[in-house]
Structure formats: structure tokens, C-alpha cells
């Protein structure tokens, strides 16, 4: 997958046709289709019942004209109770309908979120490196939430408002076609005004939001950089910048206020005007007093749906933008995948061979140049060299985090391209330089979200093996002690030991270790060293080594420089050669020891 394409999908406004979006959204909606259908049916009923209430009032008013109607008091009582009954029924329908939609909508979002998250999980390391975490997180958490409005509110609200307007119109026409016709004129005017207003106000809102977020980041930055501002005595200058933004923001706010200050009163003006017209034409058209009351009630149900409809259109657009972003991400195909003929392997002997491997992260910037070496099963090999020599890269190629441009890598004589990635990674225990810990418990971190698959005893046994049990036992909660974000409540040495435990628990046949360069207190350092020595017996071990003792105890040392293998051999052999290794050794270790 071309890099530009990924970037384009993530950052560019990749446009999709409305039809594509609707089809894909409908695919999610389909599973809950019956909830939606039922909700819509209930909605029709509820709107219908809502329409009936003005009619009841009309009947009531007409009946009250006792001179003409001559009704009994009981008829009035029944009408009053009927009115209440209608309200209760209507609200009952509203409840069922709303909850159906809420549940269905939230379920859809739940599924969508899982899909997006799992999709992100499937990305290769190279792809993940290209995608800022922040933009992925907003897709998983934020844009999905934007879409949930669509299912729980927007769609239904559009439907309900259209139904309401239609229903009111129908009843008006039944009551008095002529007066209804006049009211339609008002409706048209309100509709046109609302439409233009909503477009106008959306533009201001967007501007305001953008300005607000710019203002917030300005504030954030100014506060974070206040030390610099104070040291450079630039308080007045920052204050001036602040004032400019502050004023601009207020002006935008007032624009919003002004827009509403024109729109709302205009609508209410039209409403009262329509009412005046009703009084006047009711007289002209010889309508009954009940008709007047009914129209009075209907009118208030007539104007507000239009305003709400305009709002819904804005929400619809927001959902559209959000879904575009989500579907674009879902369209990024993982670029490291199993070939169709890839085989699953349960267990490896642990023989590794690099054959003329060339690798570059980008273009022709070769990080590895024609690297070849062979590691026998159960051997321990140390990679030594300056920063940027390509040591870490070698390790990441073995687990197919990246794919070499030229040359091949074999494990047990099988080209790793022909091995299923999952079985490959299961066989290789990776201990990375920066140990990443998740917030949760220690056990969660060792089992990696697989706590149920292991008993505490099993985990503790592994911790014992890697020398992690002593500090874990010292914690109040033992294995269940909390780990805070990024493992900040543990020292780097302790984190290292936890990563060893993770590895040993997964029963690898090959271990790769990128030794931490960070300073580790001497006591933990010793524990780590012992633990490493034990782990060597587990299987083949490849180490990017920084510690002398790790290097000295390995079966083979491969010295890298500028992406090429310069020397290899045991510690003693290489020292005798008096080559690159000899110099490196002198520099890094002799003085320190």
C-alpha cells in the first residue's frame, strides 16, 4: 500500500459518494432492521395520536357551547379523560419507540467500534507508524459516537417531523381546506427562511468551533510555554495576541447571537401572524369556535418541526462526514498478510538464516545491506554495533514487522513468507527495548488480556523463573496489583522483568531481546542478568546487546556497521582479531568494568 494513499485516507478529505456511504451504513443498519421498522410503525401511531389531541379539544370546545350541543356533563368528563388517555398512550409509544432506537443505535455503534478497532489491530507496524495514534483514536471513539446520533436521533427525528407536518396539514385540510391552504403559505415561508438560516448558522458555527479550538490550543500553548514568555519578558506581546483572539471569538459568538436574534423572532412573528390570519379567516370562512381552538393548537405543532428539521439536516451532514472518515480507514488494507499458501507451524527447532537481506524503510536508504548469517537451534547470538547500525531492524524482520526488499529469511529452513504470521509470532518471544505496560493489573500485563487462560500459580511460576516474583510479592495486591498508565509505578528494571515474564509465559522457541539502554539500579540489573542466563536454555536467542556480560556469554557475536555484517565470532575470537569489536569493547566496557 502506497504511503501516500494511507495518508490521503487518514488526513485528506477523501470523498465518497453519498450512495456508497448509504449502502455501507445500511449494511450496519440491516442487523437491527426490525427495531427500526417497529420504531417507525410506533412513530406513525404516536404522531397520529398526537394529532388527535387537538381534535379532542375541538370537540370539547364545541360541546361546551351547551346552548347548541346540549350535551350532558358526562360527555365532557369522558372527553377530558379521553384526552388524558391519549397522552398516556402516546407517551407509552414514545417510550417504546425511543428505547428501541437507542438500543439498536448503540448496538450498531458497538459493532462499528469493534470493527474499526479490530481493523486497526490488523495494520502492519509500518502502517501504524504512518498513522498518528490520535487520529486512530478519534476514529474509534469520537467519529463512531457522531454516527450514533444518526441512528438514535437524527433519522427518526427527520421522519417524525415530516410526519408531524404532514399530519397537521392533513387535519387542517379536514377542518377547513381554505384556512389550511392559507396556513400552507405560512409554512412555505417558514420553510424557506429556516433553510437559509440553517445554512447560514452552520457556517458560523463551524467557524466558531474552529476558532474556539484554535483559541484553546493557543491557550494551551501559552500556558505550557509561560516560562518562555516570562523569561523573554514577552507578557505584553502574548497578551496582545490573546486579546485579538478573545475579541474575535466574542465577535463570532455575537454573530451567532445575532443570527438567532433575527431568526427566532422572525419565526415567532410569522407564528403570531398566522394566528391573526386564523382569527380573521375563521370569521370570514364561518368556522366554528372549536375549529379556531383546534387551529390554535395545531399551529404550535406546525412551526417547530420545521426548525427541528433544519437542525436534523445539519446532524445528517455531520454523520456523513464521520462515516466518510470511518469507511476510509476501514478501506486501508493491511499490507503484511499471509500468502494464500502460508502454513501453520506449531513448533520450531529455532534455526535462523538470513540470506542476502537488503532492507530500507524508505526508498533507497538501505538500513541493512546484504546481510547474511546463520544461527543454529538453541544458540545465543548477540548483535553489536553503534546506534543505527541495523541491529534492531534485524530483529523486527524476523517477526515480519517489516518485509525486506531483497533476500530471504528462513526459520528451520522455511522461508518466513510461507509461514502464517500468527504461528511465526507465537514462536518468537519478543522483548522490546521500551517495555510497554497497559493500565490494569500485573497479571493482565503478563498474560496480555488473557488472564482467564492462566491460573495465578502458572503466572507466578513464570515470575519466579524470571526473578520477578520478589518485587511482585512485595506489592500489596501481588499479581493483582494495579499498573498505572505506561507502567509508571514500576522502575525500568522491574518493567524489563515483567516483559521477560510475558515472553516465558508464551512458550516461545525463539527469543529476541532488545536490551534496554536505560540505567537500571544495580540490584535489579543482577536479577535481569540471572534471568537472561536462564532464558537462554528456552530456545534460540537473538539479542541486541548493550551489556558486556550478555555479549560475553553468547555463542556468537555479530558486529554490524552501517547495515553490513563486519565481523562475527565468539568474544575471545573477536578480541584476538583486534578489529571493530575490539575497539567497541574498549570504548564501552573496559573503562566501566
Amino acid at each position: 500500500m502506497a504511503q501516500d494513499d494511507v495518508k490521503d485516507r487518514l488526513f485528506g478529505d477523501k470523498k465518497m459518494s453519498l450512495w456508497t456511504i448509504m449502502v455501507r451504513t445500511f449494511a450496519y443498519l440491516k442487523k437491527e432492521i426490525w427495531s427500526f421498522v417497529l420504531a417507525l410503525v410506533l412513530l406513525v401511531f404516536s404522531v397520529a395520536v398526537n394529532m388527535l389531541t387537538p381534535l379532542v379539544l375541538k370537540q370539547f370546545t364545541n360541546d361546551l357551547n351547551l346552548a347548541e350541543s346540549g350535551v350532558d356533563f358526562h360527555d365532557l368528563l369522558i372527553l377530558g379523560l379521553g384526552y388524558f388517555g391519549l397522552i398516556v398512550i402516546n407517551q407509552f409509544l414514545v417510550y417504546i419507540q425511543s428505547m428501541l432506537l437507542q438500543k439498536a443505535g448503540q448496538k450498531i455503534i458497538y459493532r462499528l467500534r469493534n470493527d474499526v478497532f479490530e481493523h486497526v489491530e490488523g495494520m502492519s507496524i509500518a502502517q501504524l507508524n504512518m498513522m498518528p495514534v490520535g487520529s486512530l483514536v478519534t476514529r474509534v471513539a469520537f467519529y463512531t459516537a457522531n454516527m450514533s446520533d444518526l441512528f438514535t436521533n437524527t433519522l427518526v427525528s427527520i421522519f417524525r417531523n415530516i410526519l408531524t407536518i404532514a399530519g397537521v396539514a392533513v387535519i387542517m385540510f379536514i377542518l377547513s381546506p381554505a384556512l389550511a391552504g392559507i396556513m400552507m403559505g405560512f409554512l412555505a415561508v417558514v420553510f424557506v427562511i429556516s433553510f437559509f438560516f440553517s445554512r447560514h448558522v452552520k457556517r458560523i458555527f463551524r467557524l466558531e468551533r474552529a476558532k474556539q479550538s484554535e483559541f484553546n490550543s493557543f491557550l494551551n500553548e501559552s500556558l505550557s510555554g509561560m516560562k518562555i514568555v516570562q523569561l523573554y519578558v514577552q507578557e505584553n506581546r502574548k497578551k496582545k495576541q490573546f486579546d485579538e483572539q478573545n475579541l474575535y471569538l466574542r465577535k463570532l459568538r455575537m454573530k451567532v447571537v445575532a443570527a438567532f436574534a433575527v431568526y427566532r423572532p422572525t419565526i415567532s412573528f410569522l407564528y403570531y401572524l398566522a394566528l391573526g390570519a386564523t382569527f380573521f379567516f375563521a370569521f370570514r370562512l364561518n368556522l366554528s369556535s372549536g375549529d379556531v381552538v383546534a387551529f390554535y393548537m395545531l399551529l404550535s405543532n406546525f412551526f417547530s418541526p420545521i426548525e427541528r428539521l433544519a437542525d436534523s439536516l445539519n446532524n445528517l451532514q455531520r454523520a456523513h462526514a464521520a462515516s466518510e472518515k470511518l469507511y476510509s480507514l476501514l478501506d486501508v488494507k493491511p499490507d503484511v498478510v499471509d500468502s494464500p499458501s502460508a502454513i501453520a507451524i506449531d513448533s520450531f527447532r529455532g534455526e535462523i538464516e538470513f540470506r542476502n537481506v537488503w532492507f530500507a524503510y524508505e526508498n533507497e536508504d538501505w538500513i541493512l545491506k546484504d546481510v547474511s548469517f546463520h544461527v543454529a537451534p538453541k544458540q545465543t547470538v548477540a548483535f553489536v554495533g553503534a546506534t543505527g547500525a541495523g541491529k534492531t531492524t534485524i530483529l523486527s524482520l524476523i517477526v515480519r514487522n517489516f518485509v525486506p526488499q531483497k533476500g530471504d529469511i528462513f526459520i528451520d529452513g522455511i522461508n518466513i513468507k510461507d509461514i502464517q504470521i500468527k504461528s511465526l509470532r507465537k514462536a518468537v518471544g519478543q522483548m522490546l527495548q521500551d517495555v510497554f505496560l497497559f493500565s490494569g493489573s500485573i497479571k493482565d500485563n503478563i498474560t496480555l488480556y488473557d488472564s482467564d487462560a492462566y491460573t495465578d500459580e502458572e503466572v507466578m511460576k513464570v515470575c519466579d523463573y524470571v526473578n520477578a516474583s520478589s518485587f511482585i510479592n512485595n506489592l500489596d495486591g501481588g499479581l493483582n496489583s494495579p499498573v498505572i498508565e505506561k507502567g509508571e509505578n514500576f522502575s525500568s528494571g522491574q518493567r524489563q522483568l515483567l516483559s521477560f515474564a510475558r515472553t516465558v509465559l508464551s512458550h516461545p522457541q525463539i527469543l529476541i531481546l532488545d536490551e534496554a539502554t536505560a540505567n537500571i539500579d544495580t540490584e535489579t540489573e543482577k536479577l535481569i542478568q540471572d534471568s537472561l542466563n536462564k532464558m537462554k536454555s528456552i530456545g534460540t536467542m537473538l539479542v541486541v546487546a548493550h551489556r558486556l556480560s550478555t555479549i560475553q556469554h553468547s555463542d556468537n557475536i555479530i558486529v554490524l556497521q552501517g547495515g553490513r555484517v563486519m565481523e562475527s565470532g565468539t568474544h575471545q575470537e573477536l578480541l584476538h582479531q583486534k578489529g571493530l569489536y575490539f575497539k567497541l569493547y574498549q570504548l564501552q566496557f573496559e573503562q566501566a568494568s
Binding site: 365532557l76 467500534r113 438514535t152 490550543s217 466574542r250 423572532p265 509470532r425
Partner: protein, 589 residues
């Protein structure tokens, strides 16, 4: 109303806007009540025995049109006045807070994370603004509208009115209750959303670990759990909201039905010449009362919401006031003198310093004098007090009087602005603003010409880098623009400090991410360009300081030695060790 000195200050400034707005609101409220009355009159005319006359109808229609006009104009007016006042207050509060933040010391900013302060700037100010704007409108509206309507209702019929009003109080209570419960539930939902966000953030960041151990399925399961919880809380929140809405609708429906039944009964009795309790009531009266009732619903609900809004705004204003009242600990003394013509002599006289709430001092009994024009290095292990030493020179923290002098003036007696103007500081974190690079460099001097900016960049060996960017000096640094490397940032910070052309230049470990060759060039530039001016370099590499005039060696907050590099080789064990390691390194390269 909100009280307190800051609130009072703004009321004093904008009272006329509020007053005008409130009066308009009252007029609008009053005029609106003419509508149900008109409806009642129309109904009575229609139901009268003799047929309705145009002369009866027209005045009513005209009155409705007048109301329409009046209400429209009034609503425009109160929106503009009240919201203009509240947004001015919002702006004013923000301005005061920003000014305050500029005067607060690092000690305060350390104790209060930027996130908190930002919250006061946004959420809290907004809730004050909301109350001053919408709160005022709703309060006035609710009080007066309901008063007018209630009076009119009672004039029509006291019994029906009482019947309506008593249960309506329920609505007020209900409104307040709903606001309170919903806002706590809303927080719960917010927390669930945050949890989802944090989980995604953390787990996408740590995805490589998951992939390494092939635990994608387990991680996805854990995510699903969080997402499911989020879903459940959202549904629960929605249910509560729906239930609250339904409940209020049902209460209103019940009151309405009761009014209809009882009113119908009263009209019925009156019609048959047998009024109950002597209450004579016509159909039109009942219709009016129903109309009044409809107008009362909103104010009653609003009243409840205003209560909740008020308590929120009060809490927010309290936090804002606490911020505005925070102690400013680093300020000019009453008789502070302006440092002028600074030569750059710096003297530490028995200086001991502990950070607030630290257990042991970071610097202990430091005695030394840096002569004007010297180029000085400071070395020592991490945490030995190097950065503290230079931070104190710029008085980022307060120190005891009589312990630190510049040109013989106690810095505690100098004005802050003159002190800081005489020191160009390159802090360790080399913070740059997301602004064009040229503006970052000319931060100390907005008037600087392009030539001067380029000269500063050349001094810091960063000109070629900048010229290499597509937009050159206009390139924006930070998230919105290019991502600068650590070395580039450091060098731009150096250029920024150079622009200040101050008598004292301090570089706090500012070349650590710069390669050795570039470092040499920068050092050469410092020697040439800053001849006769004091320059202090904190360094982690010996190569940075070995050619300087003298070097301060710190150990655990104490002065181990202060001498020329040659002499240090004889007397300072820390320095000796550093040099030896350095030599080994150079051998290999």
C-alpha cells in the same frame, strides 16, 4: 444572581445592558399574554347567540398583529442586549484570567496542571456565561411570565387556577431534580466516554506488543468489554432522559385533563343556572385558562432548570475567583531597582535552595563569582542542581535575600523585567510556539529584520536546515507544520536566545541533540560573537565545555570545584572521570 467581587465588577460595568434586556423581556412577556385572551374573546364571539360581526373581529386581529410586531422587536432587543452583556463579561473574565496566568510563577503552574487551568478557561467560564445569558432570560421570563399569567388566571377563575397551580409546583421541583440527576448521570456517561478514549489511546499505542504476542483476539475482547459498557451506560442515560421527558408530559396531560373535567363541570353548572360555589364561568373563560396553562408550562420548567444552572455557575465562579485570587509570589519588591547597563557579573553568596515541598535542598551553600564576560561551563550528574542554578538566576523561583547578585545587585531587589531582560535563557525543554520559525526566533524582538533573524539562525547553525524547508523561515513549527528534530528545536531555541542580545546568555544542556561537529561550530560562534559578554553553558558532554574559560562542577547540590579545565583535571574527580570517558569515545570515531 451571582455574587462576589468579580461578579459585582461586571454588573457595575454592564448594568444598563442587563436592565434594558430585562425590561424588554418583561414587556414581551406581558404582551404575549394578550394572545390567550384574544383566543378566549374570539371563542366567546363565535359562540354568542347573535352572529359575529367584522367590527368585533377586526380589533382582535389587529391586536394580534400588533403583538406579533411587538414580540418580534422585543425578542431581537433582549437577545442582543443580554447576550452582548454576558459575552462581554465572558471575554472580560478570560482576559483577567490570562493576565493572571502571566503573573503566576512556575511554582503555581507546577501545582496546577495546564489541563485544570484550561478547564477554568473553558468549561467554567462557559457555565458563568450560560447563567448570565440564558439564566437571566429564563429567570426573568419564568418569574414574570408566571406572575402575570397567574394573576390573569386568578382574575378569570380562582378555583380552576388553584387546581392548576398546585400540581404545577411539582413541575418546578421536577425540573430542578431532573437537572441535578441528569448532570451527575451526564458526568458518568462522560467518564465512560473518557474510558473508551483512554483505552483506545493506550492500546493503539501499545499495539506492537499485542502483535508481538499474537494477542489481538484477547485485546479485541477487552476492547469489546469497554465498548459494551459504554453502550450500556449510553442506553441507560438515554432511558433516564426519555423517562424524565415522558413523566413531565404525563403530568402536564394530567393537569390539563383535570382542568377540562372540572372546568367543564363548572361551565355546565353555570349554564344550567346552578353555579358551583357561586362560580359563574363561561366557555370562553375556560378556554382562556387552558391557554394560560399552556403558557405556564415553559416558565415552570425553566424555573427548575435555572436553579441547577445557578448552582453550577456559582461553583464555577468560585473556582475562577480562586484562580484570580491566587498568590503571586514572584513579583517586584516595593523598592525594586531597574538593572541597567548590565556587565554580567554573577555572584552566588552562600546560596541554599530547596524546591517547594522538597525534602532536601537542591543547592547547598554555593559560593562563587562569575566575572563579567566569562564563558562558563556547568557539569555534573543528572539531578546535581545544574538547571536549578541557572533557573534561579532568572528568578524562576524565589531565593533568600543576599544570596545571588548580578553586577552586585541582589536579584531579589531588581525588577523582574529588567532582570529577565538581561538574561537570554535557552531552557532544556526548548519549547517552541506553533508559529512560523522566524517568529519563534524573533520572539524577544518582534521588530527584528529578516537579516537579523538569519544572522541568529546562522549563529545557532540552523540556517541551512531552515532554508531547506519548503517554506523556509515561514515554515510553521509544531503539529500544524513540520515536525522538527530535537537538534533543530535546540538550535532554533539558541537562535531565539541570541536574538535577545542580552549581557548574559544561558544554555541549559542545549546542544545535547546536536552532533559534535555542529556543536563545535556553535561553540566557536559563541566565542566570537559573545566576546566580552557572559555566557553559561550547562553540558552533559565534556567536549562542550573543555574549551571554556572556567567550569563549575556540581555534585549532589554542592560545589565540587570551579576552575579552569586544566586545573580541574587535577582537583575534580567528577571532571576527571568525564574526560577519560570522552577520550575513549573519540579514539573509536
Amino acid at each position: 444572581m451571582l455574587f462576589g467581587k468579580y461578579a459585582a465588577k461586571f454588573y457595575k460595568k454592564y448594568w444598563y445592558l442587563f436592565l434594558l434586556g430585562v425590561i424588554t423581556l418583561l414587556v414581551v412577556d406581558y404582551v404575549q399574554t394578550l394572545i390567550p385572551e384574544s383566543l378566549g374573546q374570539i371563542v366567546d364571539i363565535f359562540q354568542a347567540d347573535e352572529p359575529a360581526q367584522e367590527s368585533q373581529i377586526m380589533p382582535i386581529v389587529l391586536r394580534v398583529i400588533m403583538v406579533a410586531l411587538g414580540v418580534a422587536v422585543g425578542r431581537v432587543l433582549w437577545r442582543i442586549t443580554i447576550f452582548s452583556a454576558s459575552s462581554r463579561i465572558e471575554m472580560g473574565l478570560r482576559e483577567m484570567m490570562f493576565l493572571k496566568s502571566e503573573r503566576l510563577s512556575q511554582t503555581y503552574l507546577h501545582k496546577n496542571p495546564v489541563g485544570n487551568i484550561l478547564n477554568w478557561f473553558s468549561t467554567d467560564i462557559e457555565s458563568v456565561d450560560e447563567f448570565l445569558g440564558w439564566g437571566t432570560v429564563m429567570m426573568v421570563d419564568a418569574f414574570f411570565m408566571s406572575t402575570i399569567v397567574i394573576v390573569k388566571m386568578f382574575l378569570v377563575n380562582w378555583l380552576l387556577s388553584t387546581m392548576i397551580l398546585v400540581p404545577m409546583l411539582l413541575i418546578v421541583l421536577w425540573g430542578a431534580l431532573v437537572e441535578r440527576i441528569m448532570s451527575s448521570r451526564w458526568e458518568q456517561r462522560q467518564k465512560a466516554n473518557d474510558e473508551l478514549y483512554d483505552f483506545s489511546q493506550e492500546n493503539i499505542t501499545g499495539l506492537r506488543v499485542i502483535k508481538a504476542f499474537v494477542k489481538e483476539v484477547q485485546q479485541a475482547r477487552a476492547f469489546a468489554k469497554v465498548a459494551w459498557k459504554n453502550k450500556e451506560i449510553n442506553v441507560r442515560f438515554a432511558r433516564l432522559q426519555v423517562l424524565f421527558d415522558i413523566f413531565i408530559e404525563v403530568i402536564i396531560g394530567a393537569i390539563m385533563a383535570m382542568t377540562l373535567c372540572l372546568g367543564g363541570y363548572l361551565v355546565y353548572r353555570s349554564f344550567h343556572g346552578n353555579p358551583l360555589l357561586g362560580i359563574d364561568i363561561k366557555t370562553g373563560d375556560l378556554v382562556s385558562i387552558v391557554g394560560y396553562f399552556a403558557t405556564l408550562i415553559w416558565p415552570m420548567m425553566a424555573l427548575g432548570q435555572v436553579f441547577a444552572m445557578h448552582s453550577r455557575a456559582k461553583a464555577s465562579l468560585k473556582r475562577i475567583s480562586a484562580f484570580l485570587d491566587a498568590e503571586e509570589d514572584i513579583v517586584d519588591g516595593p523598592e525594586a531597582v531597574t538593572l541597567e547597563n548590565v556587565q554580567g557579573e554573577i555572584e552566588f553568596r552562600g546560596l541554599t535552595f530547596s524546591y517547594p515541598e522538597a525534602k532536601k535542598p537542591s543547592l547547598q551553600d554555593i559560593n562563587l563569582t562569575i566575572k563579567a564576560g566569562e564563558t562558563i561551563g556547568i557539569v555534573g550528574k543528572i539531578g546535581c542542581g545544574k538547571s536549578t542554578m541557572v533557573a534561579l538566576m532568572a528568578r524562576l523561583y524565589n531565593i533568600d535575600k543576599g544570596t545571588l547578585f548580578i553586577d552586585g545587585v541582589d536579584i531579589m531587589d531588581a525588577t523582574l523585567s529588567s532582570l529577565r531582560s538581561s538574561i537570554a535563557f535557552v531552557p532544556q525543554d526548548n519549547f517552541l510556539f506553533s508559529d512560523e520559525i522566524r517568529n519563534n526566533i524573533s520572539f524577544a524582538d518582534a521588530e527584528a529584520s529578516m537579516d537579523e533573524i538569519e544572522k541568529a539562525a546562522a549563529f545557532a547553525c540552523v540556517h541551512d536546515d531552515i532554508a531547506g524547508f519548503p517554506e523556509g523561515y515561514k515554515t510553521v513549527s509544531g503539529e500544524r507544520g513540520v515536525t522538527l528534530s530535537g537538534g533543530q528545536k535546540q538550535r532554533i531555541s539558541i537562535a531565539r536566545a541570541y536574538m535577545k542580545n542580552a549581557p548574559i546568555l544561558v544554555l541549559d544542556d542545549s546542544v545535547s541533540a546536536v552532533d559534535v561537529k555542529t556543536e563545535e561550530t556553535i561553540l566557536r560562534n559563541i566565542r566570537q560573537e559573545r566576546k566580552g559578554k557572559t555566557t553559561i553553558l550547562i553540558a552533559s558532554r565534556v567536549s562542550t565545555v573543555s574549551s571554556l574559560d572556567r567550569i563549575i562542577v556540581l555534585k549532589d547540590g554542592c560545589l565540587e570545584a570551579f576552575d579552569t579545565p586544566a586545573n580541574l583535571m587535577k582537583i575534580s574527580p567528577t571532571y576527571q572521570k568525564m574526560v577519560m570517558l570522552q577520550e575513549l569515545e573519540s579514539e573509536v570515531s
